[in-house]
Assembly symmetry: C2
Homo-oligomer: 342 residues x 2
């Protein structure tokens, strides 16, 4: 085996949308695992919108990636050396290894995977953090009730598609929002949404809202928030009394661009919260990993038997991760974005 | 007794802050109570910020007051005629009679008062809707824990002073915000706040925030929202992870003026909700009157023995209600605003 590894570091902080120059491909010596550590040759890594936030030097729930530091990511791969009795070479594991060809972590930070239970990429999406995010946020904060109406954007992404499918199973009317006719067809045909609106087809939030009002004749009870921006502006006046808004992301605002959303004001948000008695709850899934076993027990079998479907968009090669990431932030992916590393 | 009554109606809808011309004093015949109805000669009526919202023709939790309709208010007075066995002339009662000298309502919409249990004005403030609002919002959505820090504005008003005193009793650090040095002294000396900041002493939200940060060395866990605007802008970046924001009002935005708050953007609110895992919950107390007996049981004795203190600002005469209301919206009152009618 080679004694070298590649990783992608943060070369500079983006100003708005990331550009290629913000990333740097570095080669370094393969680490030697210390006591209780495990060295893994990575096969697949995950690309997720939250990584955009880590590129900014802003106070958040997690420290930003340092300039010169390895970009963060969850990844899966094969153990090639282990100083822990819990892992043997040939085992497969998931961990927060970063954008890299190899990774070395303490055994207690890894999760062993069984490749017989399905593709190991599922640990990055439908049965990983995005799936858990959708399941936890919907149930814990969305509190779905049969007969209600749910709206979620990025409807064909790994969070939105999980939310939509679980809500449908719970007896809700599910309305997706996605970018482009192809994704909208996918949302309805593959993920069972009752309808899906193409946000690109509407000039502004008012136009999108008018169509949403038609698609949601009884109003909106749950808006699962992962995009903010124009979609939030369209949705919030349509919320029903006692509505719930779990907030797990705001991809359209990560770049800091706000010009297009200037008509969505703070008073408009606050007034709707007050007069509709809304519950708005921010969360990140890393605070709730203790619920992973419950999630796996409930959703794992549904994925295995095909009742919960998922879609992956796989880019090839670590060196192409920045381009795939930049495209994903603009909605260029079709399903969960993954990078194949070997 | 006179066979006439006075009431104040909505003559026109305000554009921003209400003006005298929006109100009209009308004289009409005293109503004759129908079956099961009770006629009450009103002694005191309440003025509350929510009434500003009722003057707008905007979709809200309650229908707006119609042009020519009587302004809404809770009021207390003495029964002068009754077609219900539940009330006798001479009894005292609370009801939503409106801005008027007399009122006639079905007996089941009235609450009998016992004047031996303290001043009947308490039913309009500390033991009425404002007190219940503070008690319910703090406990149900604020979820106070000893050692935490709470911030509330309008700290000497009937909601803010209830919230501050209950939070202090629960072991929290309590920081009030009020308009003017006199109110700030009152907040500390009478209502036991650990500190109270005069929002008028700060040119903008940044300056207020800097002082708040000093007063809240461990950050803010609960922001009880009743004013919005500059205070919200100052507070929200200081919220701690897992913070709670019960929202019962936004007095600074009722007039629609937003220029001074232009730096408080929708993304700033949404981002803080996400990265601090905040819980934001709008509510109005009329949805929770079922909790009134619990409130009365817990807080009634505390008011009776002086552990919970309250302050009333009493204007004289129905004809002066509009002026008192307009002044209250600008913070001109000192304590719960009431109008004495007889």
């Amino acid at each position: 085996m080679s004694d070298q590894m590649q990783r992608i570091t943060l070369a500079s902080r983006p100003n708005g949308a990331p550009v290629a120059e913000n990333f740097s491909l570095q080669t370094s010596a393969l680490p030697v695992p210390g006591p209780d550590e495990v060295l893994v040759k990575l096969h697949y890594m995950s690309l997720d919108p939250y990584m955009r936030g880590r590129m900014d030097d802003a106070k958040s729930y997690a420290a930003p990636v340092a300039i010169g530091g390895t970009m963060e990511a969850g990844a899966v791969g094969e153990v090639i050396a282990s100083n822990s009795p819990a892992f043997q070479p040939g085992d497969f594991a998931f961990g927060l290894f970063g954008w890299a060809s190899h990774g070395c972590l303490p055994a207690n930070q890894l999760q062993k995977l069984n490749p017989d239970h399905g593709p190991i990429t599922a640990a990055l999406g439908v049965l990983g953090m995005p799936g858990l995010t959708g399941w936890y946020g919907l149930n814990e904060y969305g509190k779905p009730k049969a007969g209600e109406t749910l709206v979620v954007a990025a409807a064909t992404g790994p969070v939105g598609s999980m939310v939509g499918q679980l809500a449908k199973r719970a007896g809700l009317r599910t309305i997706g929002i996605a970018g482009g006719a192809e994704k909208c067809a996918l949302a309805v045909d593959t993920f069972g949404f009752d309808a899906c609106l193409d946000h690109r087809a509407f000039a502004d939030a008012s136009a999108l809202r008018a169509e949403l009002a038609t698609a949601c004749p009884n109003g909106i009870d749950i808006y699962f928030e992962n995009v903010a921006g124009k979609v939030l502006e369209a949705v919030i006046p349509l919320m029903n009394p006692h509505g719930r808004i779990p907030v797990c992301g705001m991809i359209s605002w990560y770049g800091g661009a706000q010009g297009a959303d200037a008509t969505l004001t703070a008073p408009m948000i606050w007034r709707n919260i007050l007069v509709k008695f809304l519950s708005v709850k921010g969360f990140i899934i890393m605070n709730h990993f203790d619920r992973y076993p419950d999630f796996q027990k409930e959703v794992g079998p549904l994925v295995a038997n095909g009742d919960i479907r998922f879609l992956e968009d796989i880019a090839e090669g670590l060196e192409n991760a920045p381009a795939a990431f930049m495209a994903m932030l603009k909605g260029g992916n079709m399903g969960k974005q993954i990078v194949k590393l070997v």
